[in-house]
């Protein structure tokens, strides 16, 4: 490793260093606001490293890590999401019992894991990054260990993530057994020779990745974990964790022309169709907002797979754009849930949202905008995202996937509208007065305002952002 390569690693180094600094800080001072501030500062510092290292990229740093525009983009996205979630978590944790400081440490570590995943070019780096991410998430989900619901969700995630890691590891081992390498490029170079060992291995890796992305039929844990985890953590799982793994999947599939194999194409198509159908259909039957968003996220990952399967140069732009739109929307939606949650319980039942538009019009407006974005209605980022996905599907003539997308997203519209309708319902005032109304905080309000603005700007005038993606996102 030479100095240039080491320099390229700066973002990861700074992020690791901030975790250590934060750990030491917590040992000396347990002031919530200081810890949260330092976390945000660490994320910001890392983010500022990205433009500094960008001119020297791409750099292959050891066989494990590759830092290219693509990696930088997704690391930046991870950091931005983590930053927003710190600001949303702060007032949320402030309202709840227990010591919140270590939560931020876990959040930084999880972001480090996600960044490593996004930049990995080797199965070992991928696995290590994924485990840093997952282990931090177990603890984040069950952070409020006195709450049975959190514990249940944490254990559920622990078991299923462990199983999926086992699949992944075994799959990697099988691939290594055939090709003698864990580098993506070396594997891809020899992928054409086939062989049953590597095929089984790839299938097992796909199962592992499918679990992490909550794609059908590996989605069983999603709703329970989403429901049980604290809203900011749910948002973290939905965005950063899935985003990093999807970024890796896209890199692997796109860079090494995996789609040339008809089996892979078939499997990915089937998984995409299943995810869209299962996610949208199961969401119809839920009365819990967090569960609805869980199933909706399954469907959205299915939409993303459409772009992935379509492949080609367009896929990079489409997936990058869609993930950004999805990050903005999901973080803001869970931000609203976090703001509405009281010290006793999360604002998960749909009944908590009835008449919200008349009680908290701004908050309801933000949530409505997010739901419409998830449904892909114009003027929101979700519309351009969906437009892009359909465009990539049509350009590759994937009619089955495009038709499934169109039909299931009409179904999906139903449950998004149900939530919107609930918010605009006229309710008797005494029924709502019984419930304590949590007060908003400046940090969360600011984040929600910025995200909503971003949502509209990305939806109404996406051209500059598309140019940014085109300029940065490349291998």
């Amino acid at each position: 490793m030479n100095a240039v390569q080491l320099f390229a690693l700066t973002p990861l180094i700074v992020l690791s260093a901030s975790s250590v600094v934060l750990m030491l800080l917590i040992a000396f001072s347990r002031r919530h606001v200081t810890v949260a501030f330092m976390t945000a500062a660490g994320l910001l510092a890392t983010f500022l490293c990205l433009p500094a290292v960008y001119p020297d990229l791409p750099q292959q740093v050891t066989p494990l890590i590759v830092l290219d525009g693509y990696a930088v983009f997704f690391i930046g996205l991870t950091l931005a999401a983590a930053f927003a979630l710190v600001l949303i978590s702060y007032p949320y944790l402030q309202n709840r019992p227990g010591r919140p400081e270590e939560y931020y440490l876990l959040l930084l570590l999880a972001s480090l894991g996600a960044a490593v995943v996004a930049a990995s070019s080797h199965f070992a780096a991928f696995y290590i990054g994924l485990e840093i991410l997952s282990v931090s998430l177990y603890a984040m989900i069950a952070y409020e260990r006195w709450s049975l619901m959190r514990l249940e969700a944490g254990v559920k995630y622990l078991i299923l993530a462990a199983v999926s890691s086992a699949f992944l590891l075994f799959g990697i081992a099988l691939i290594y057994a055939q090709f003698g390498s864990m580098e993506f490029s070396a594997i891809a170079a020899r992928a054409a020779e086939g062989g049953i060992t590597a095929l089984v291995g790839s299938a097992m890796v796909l199962v592992g990745v499918g679990f992490k992305l909550a794609l059908a039929p590996f989605h069983m844990w999603t709703a329970d974990v989403y429901e049980g985890a604290p809203p900011p953590v749910t948002a973290y799982i939905a965005t950063v964790s899935k985003g990093a793994v999807f970024a890796l999947l896209l890199r692997y599939v796109n860079q090494y022309d995996v789609l040339a194999s008809p089996q892979v194409l078939l499997v990915l198509t089937a998984v995409a169709v299943a995810s869209m159908v299962v996610g949208n259909l199961l969401a119809l039957m839920q009365n819990n907002v967090k569960r609805i968003l869980a199933y909706s996220s399954i469907a959205h990952l299915g939409y993303l797979l459409v772009a992935l399967v379509a492949g080609g140069a367009l896929a990079l732009t489409v997936v990058s754009y869609y993930l950004v739109a999805y990050f903005v929307t999901t973080i803001a939606a869970f931000g609203v849930i976090a703001v509405l949650s009281t010290s006793e319980r999360d604002a998960a039942p749909i009944d908590d949202y009835r008449g919200l538009a008349w009680r908290r019009p701004w908050l309801a407006g933000v949530f409505t905008a997010m739901l419409l974005s998830l449904a892909g209605i114009p003027l929101t980022a979700g519309f351009i995202g969906k437009f892009y996905v359909v465009a990539s599907g049509v350009s590759s003539a994937l009619w089955l996937l495009v038709a499934t997308l169109a039909i299931t997203s009409v179904i999906g519209l139903f449950y998004y509208l149900r939530l919107v309708a609930a918010m605009f319902e006229q309710v008797e005032t005494h029924a709502t007065a019984a419930r304590e109304e949590p007060v908003g905080s400046f940090a969360a309000t600011a984040v929600l305002a910025v995200l909503t603005l971003l949502l509209v700007v990305l939806g109404a005038y996406p051209a500059p952002f598309i140019r940014l993606i085109a300029a940065t996102v490349s291998f």
């Binding site: 465009a391 169109a406 009409v410 149900r418």
Partner: protein, 527 residues
């Protein structure tokens, strides 16, 4: 630039109405009214200018054209253009916008500001649909008007509003997504042929497609327009949505939203896919005829007055579908007149039903009867619009339906003959409605007030408009003829280039068409 203003004015006024509408204030109403009047004045001014030839651009029949970059990476432009067809529909939008603001003056009492925001946002979206000449921009407006319309029904609607609102949204959205896929397919096919990837309407018009692809893409567009129009069997959202919506919502729905479907057929289906549209002509006409008869029969069977009026819409809009697909200049002209007149006459009927419901708190025909003696002015107005609706000569609807039937007769005798039966059925339901609602014995003693000066003014203006269209249809025809000729010319040129097997038949229709349109052409449009 003025085209942008036409969209921005209602939108900005809507936001303003929302802002000033905190609490129980009258300001949102005045803001909305002022904006719609300004919009109307602008549109009429454009009409006058276009009639005097002041607006003639190099790109006839287009009167105005504005294009700005939006997402150049994808070939999406913010491109607006106006020809006679869009001009007439924009005037109609502004007119019905005024009507719907005035008719909600006493009906809407909750969340007045937000109501007017939604109302004006819907109108802005609809005007955008009428002006957009970039397919993605068109889709954008097409979708954007759904959300405020949904909220109008959902929040201020009647008993069963939740169901009606969501049904409306889902049906429209399903059709719209089919259209989105079709738009994208067209975009990529065009791009592969020419190397320019663009959604620009004017560039896409010349795309040559193989017959199968063209038919499939056309059906994608048709799905969206047929749902909006609505054509049987995609109509089931309409009776629910119209019945449950507040009066202003029904006026906008029936008067304008349905017109976007007819507009789409004329603006997009005919010029973009002339060959496939010709191949589809018989099916399209059949759907139109089925709609005419089916809507009329079901209207007759209703006991809910508002639902009755809703079903008459299906019947009337069947004439539009018939007129468009009969590939005849006269019928096409008739379809446009029918769209405008239906907007006014049905809008007026919905306003009347709304006023009646405000007074007697029911829409059930069984509980009415004998109202004429109590509220003679309202009865008189109802009679005027019932007669207009049944197509009595002297009212605009007659012109529209007559032109459609006459034009269709040239291309398909049987369709025209069956469709003419719809006029008879229209007499039955319209007179039946009057008979049960306003004549006969009163079911109960009612102490209700007749139309106030404000309500009378609205009704009188609408009656005057429908009467003007019936007696002097020529100005409206004059302004739309160049646009419709343009549509037909483009359709013909593209039809000659495409190698569809139906071209021969299509050409045959065209030659018949030149002759039949002659008598209708006014002196003002010798270009």
């Amino acid at each position: 630039m003025i085209l942008v203003w036409l969209i921005v004015i209602p939108l900005a006024a809507g936001v303003l109405a929302w802002v000033v509408g905190r609490g129980d204030s009258v300001w949102p109403r005045w803001t909305a009214l002022a904006a719609m009047v300004l919009e109307f004045v602008l549109a009429v001014w454009l009409w006058v200018d276009s009639a005097s030839g002041a607006l003639a651009t190099t790109k006839l029949p287009w009167l105005l054209h504005a294009r700005y970059e939006w997402i150049p990476e994808l070939g999406i432009g913010f491109s607006l253009a106006m020809d006679g067809l869009s001009l007439v529909l924009v005037v109609l939008s502004a007119f019905l916008g005024i009507v719907s603001v005035v008719c909600s003056w006493s009906e809407i009492e909750e969340q007045v500001g937000f109501f007017h925001f939604n109302l004006l946002a819907t109108v802005a979206g609809i005007i955008g649909v009428f002006l957009a000449t970039d397919l993605i921009l068109f889709y954008f407006f097409w979708e954007i008007m759904l959300v405020p319309m949904y909220l109008l029904i959902r929040i201020w609607g009647h008993e069963n509003r939740a169901y009606a609102a969501i049904k409306f949204f889902l049906f429209t959205q399903a059709g719209a997504l089919a259209m989105l896929v079709a738009i994208l397919a067209l975009y990529f096919l065009h791009g592969q042929q020419t190397g320019t990837y663009t959604f620009d309407y004017f560039q896409l018009i010349g795309t040559t497609l193989n017959p199968a692809a063209s038919m499939l893409i056309m059906l994608g567009f048709f799905a969206a327009f047929a749902v909006k129009l609505p054509a049987v069997p995609f109509h089931t959202w309409l009776p629910d949505a119209h019945t449950e919506a507040p009066t202003a919502g029904s006026v906008i729905l029936a008067g304008l939203l349905l017109k976007t479907g007819g507009y789409g057929l004329i603006r997009f289906i005919l010029p973009l896919f002339p060959g496939s549209a010709a191949a589809f002509a018989n099916a399209g006409m059949a759907l139109g005829v089925v709609g005419i008869i089916y809507g009329a029969i079901l209207a007759f069977a209703q006991t809910d007055l508002k639902r009755l009026v809703a079903y008459t819409s299906i019947s009337h809009l069947g004439f539009v579908l018939l007129g468009v697909f009969s590939f005849n200049g006269m019928a096409l002209q008739g379809a446009v007149i029918q769209m405008v007149c239906h907007g006014i006459s049905t809008g007026a009927l919905f306003v009347l039903v709304g006023l009646l419901q405000e007074r007697i708190h029911t829409r059930d025909l069984d509980q009415m009867g004998g109202l004429w003696s109590t509220v003679p002015r309202m009865g008189g107005m109802a009679l005027v619009f019932a007669l207009a609706s049944l197509g009595l000569p002297g009212f605009g609807n007659f012109i529209g339906e007559f032109l459609v039937l006459m034009g269709t007769f040239h291309t398909n005798h049987w369709m025209a003959a069956v469709a003419a039966g719809g006029l008879v059925l229209a007499c039955v339901y319209a007179l039946w409605m009057m008979l049960r609602g306003f004549f006969g014995a009163a079911t109960q003693e009612r102490n209700i007030s007749d139309l106030s000066a404000r309500e009378m003014l609205v009704m009188a203006v609408m009656a005057a408009a429908i009467f003007w269209l019936g007696v002097f249809p020529q100005p409206t025809i004059d302004v739309t003829v160049p646009a419709l000729d343009g549509v037909r010319k483009v359709a013909r040129l593209a039809g000659e280039e495409s190698r569809t097997p139906d071209v021969a038949k299509f050409q045959q229709l065209k030659t018949g068409l030149g002759r039949t349109t002659k008598p209708m052409q006014g002196p003002g449009e010798n270009r």
